[in-house]
């Protein structure tokens, strides 16, 4: 087991992964890569939960991770189905193409 000193580093790691995921979502114009980046963010959140659970030696962290996991699974399946539909209809995965829901049109 790693010593408690470095337990804070786990949070640090989760933070770094989360930031990278966030950057990934914003940088890429292809929806697929955005979805991947979201997965990274979810994973880093799970990491943080597990670290906290380990720190306080309670099972809640791991249970929370389980819920995140199930949620991620459901989300990916729906997300990918959507991506397929988008590709099917718009022939492109470029996010900037999909902007019918604009608000500023008078």
């Amino acid at each position: 087991m790693i010593s408690n000193l470095s337990s804070d580093y786990v949070f640090l790691l989760a933070a770094i992964l989360f930031a990278l995921g966030a950057m990934g979502v914003v940088i890429r114009r292809n929806i697929l890569f955005m979805l991947i980046a979201v997965e990274i963010m979810l994973n880093s959140a799970g990491l943080a939960f597990i670290a906290a659970g380990a720190k306080w030696a309670q099972a809640d962290g791991q249970i929370m991770f389980l819920f995140i996991l199930s949620m991620a699974a459901a989300e990916v399946s729906v997300g990918l189905a959507l991506i397929m539909q988008i590709f099917h209809q718009h022939k492109t995965l470029d996010v900037d193409e999909l902007e019918q829901l604009r608000g500023d049109r008078k």
């Binding site: 914003v26 114009r29 902007e99």
Partner: protein, 621 residues
């Protein structure tokens, strides 16, 4: 005997209700019958009451009858009670008697008018509210009569409502008298605050022992009410325009009864006025000023009814002068005599106008002396009374008493006496001018109509009264009959004399002034018309003709600003301020709408920025 008083206002009211609701059902005779019937019955009742009252005067000088309790909130108690004493006896007698004569006259005068029943309904309602006014025991009931009379004068002035000008004249009368009524109302509020009651008898008892600073203010406010109703100085512009109504209306309302309501109010509230000499001086001063202004304006008028209107204002000026100086009974005596001869003059003028195809301008009339003999004779008697022809006309005795008291009574002063004398001189002048212009000279317009007997009877009776009514009150130096002042004195305080100069000397001066006026008038105006016209073309006459331009002054001071304010603010600036708020909110929503660009990455960045903000909050707090 008490339980007859309620009949006085009830009969005309019953007549009004009958004519108002079932008017269209009756034919002309029935309408006339109801109209005159109700008022003459009231006259009979008033005569019966008067005789009983004079023969067996009740112990405390008045009889009263309570009908029902109007309103009672904690200590404020108002009942519908009629108070009948010497003062109201005189007023009731004049109102009912002159009213009946005028009703008789108008049955023929309005014979061919299509709204016959409406006219008599309004007249009856007027007589009823005037009787309520003079019989009221408390000021609230008096206010009821006061406003009722104002309403009826509005309805009757604007009787021929098809012509817009009559409507405007009626509105003017109602609004200006309403200003006076408001000042009366405020006076009543102040009175209630001081005395805790509005019943006139209680106020008189408490007034004596009650010394407080606001008595003068109360007196002035009550006088404000009187000024509004009796067309005295500040608020007199409505009476000349009120001539737009039919002549019987002018005779009844704007000569005999309504305009003298102010005099009655002051006489009834004399205890308040006695307590504040300052107020008495104001009353006298206003009376004198009105007297002069009205007399000069009457001198320059061309329309016969406007001459009489201005002369009414000036005679009222005399009455207020008398009240101001403390000659209470003289004012009431002049009121009675004035009622007779002014009603006579108005009815005469009505006949003349009716006979001349509704010609109002005196310069187009003339030579009626032989065409309308009875009208001419009665008109001359009336004018003599107006001009106060010494010894024979009743006007002399009543006006002379006022001129005498204006010098010698408690608040009298030589200046007031001088103004009164000048006033009587101008009165004599314009009266002869009126008589000469209408009756003498060559006749300009043909005679379209000979007045019937129902017009002549009232004229003759009134002429008789204009002469013999004066003899019930003769001054000290000859005859010394004090029937009237003795009788009215019971309800009014006695007039104390300040100084005792020789009365006969001053009577002589007054008589000479009057005679000089008549002769001068005769000489000036009986020459040919052109000379008279150019005599009156001067700037001064134009100034007098417009009633010293009071009308235009009020138009500029009050009417135009109010109209302007109402026009520009028609759709309510407060409403516009709401639209400002609406405008701001819609502009704001447009600005925010541009932030929805539709690009996914912009929204994600928004989310991240939100996350950062929350974290910074976490750091900061």
């Amino acid at each position: 005997m008490e339980n007859l008083i309620w009949l006085l206002p009830a009969l005309p009211l019953f007549g009004f209700l009958l004519l108002a609701f079932l008017g269209s059902k009756f034919n002309r005779e029935a309408i006339a019958f109801i109209g005159i019937g109700s008022v003459s019955l009231a006259t009979i009742v008033s005569l019966y009451l008067a005789i009983n009252f004079i023969s067996s005067p009740p112990e405390n000088g008045f009889i009263s009858q309570t009908l029902w309790q109007w309103m009672q909130v904690n200590n404020f108690k108002v009942t519908i009670t009629f108070h009948y004493d010497a003062l109201s006896l005189v007023f009731v007698f004049v109102i009912t008697f002159v009213g009946a004569l005028i009703h008789l006259y108008s049955t023929e005068f309005m014979a061919h008018d299509e709204y016959y029943s409406r006219f008599f309904a309004y007249l009856n309602l007027f007589v009823c509210s005037m009787l309520i006014l003079v019989l009221a025991d408390n000021l609230v009931l008096l206010y009821l009569g006061w406003e009722g009379v104002g309403l009826c004068s509005y309805l009757l002035i604007g009787f021929w409502y098809k012509n817009i000008k009559n409507g405007i004249a009626a509105q003017k009368a109602f609004i200006i008298t309403r200003i006076g009524d408001t000042s009366l109302a405020i006076g009543m509020f102040l009175l209630f605050k001081e005395f805790g009651t509005l019943t006139i008898s209680e106020i008189s008892q408490q007034a004596v022992s009650h010394s407080s600073s606001s008595i003068t203010l109360i007196a002035l406010l009550l006088f404000g009410g009187a000024v509004g109703k009796s067309a005295q100085l500040p608020l007199q512009t409505w009476l000349p325009d009120a001539m737009a109504g039919p002549s019987p209306v002018s005779a009844l309302i704007h000569a005999a009864t309504m305009v003298t309501a102010g005099v009655y109010l002051l006489a009834r509230m004399h205890t308040i006025f006695e307590l504040s000499p300052a107020a008495m001086h104001v009353v006298a001063a206003v009376g004198a000023a009105t007297l002069l202004i009205a007399a000069t304006s009457a001198l320059a008028q061309k329309d016969i009814k406007r001459v009489l209107a201005y002369s009414t204002i000036s005679q009222l000026g005399y009455m207020f002068l008398a009240l101001g100086v403390g000659a209470w009974w003289a004012a009431i005596f002049h009121f009675m005599i004035h009622a007779f001869f002014k009603a006579l003059l108005f009815l005469g003028a009505g006949t003349i106008i009716e006979a001349q195809h509704h010609e109002h301008n005196m310069f187009n009339m003339g030579g009626l002396k032989d065409k309308l003999p009875t009208v001419f004779k009665t008109f001359v008697i009336g004018s003599a009374a107006l001009a106060a022809l010494p010894l024979i006309s009743a006007g002399f005795y009543s006006k002379d008493a006022i001129i005498w008291y204006s010098l010698t009574a408690q608040n009298g002063s030589p200046l007031l006496w001088l103004v009164a004398i000048i006033g009587s001189f101008i009165t004599a002048l314009y009266t002869t001018r009126m008589v000469v212009l209408t009756f003498y000279g060559t006749s300009k317009t043909s005679l379209s109509y000979q007045p019937g007997v129902r017009m002549h009877i009232p004229l003759i009776i009134l002429a008789f009264l204009s002469v013999f009514a004066g003899f019930i009150e003769l001054p000290h130096n000859f005859g010394h009959v004090t029937l009237f002042s003795g009788f009215v004195g019971k309800a009014l305080p006695t007039t104390l004399l300040k100084i005792e100069p020789s009365e006969s000397l001053f009577q002589l001066i007054a008589a000479i002034v009057c005679l000089v006026g008549i002769l001068l008038g005769w000489k000036l105006y009986s020459s040919n018309r052109e000379k008279v016209i150019d005599l009156e073309s001067g700037g001064l006459f134009k100034f007098f003709f417009n009633g010293w331009y009071f009308d235009n002054l009020y138009k500029v001071l009050f009417q135009q600003p109010y109209f302007f304010l109402a026009r520009i603010n028609k759709n309510d600036i407060v409403d516009k301020s709401n639209d400002v708020i609406v405008g701001i909110s819609s502009w704001l929503s447009n600005q925010l709408a541009t932030s929805q660009t539709g690009s996914m990455r912009w929204y994600v960045m928004g989310i991240i920025a939100g996350a950062i903000m929350i974290l910074t909050l976490q750091l900061v707090l």
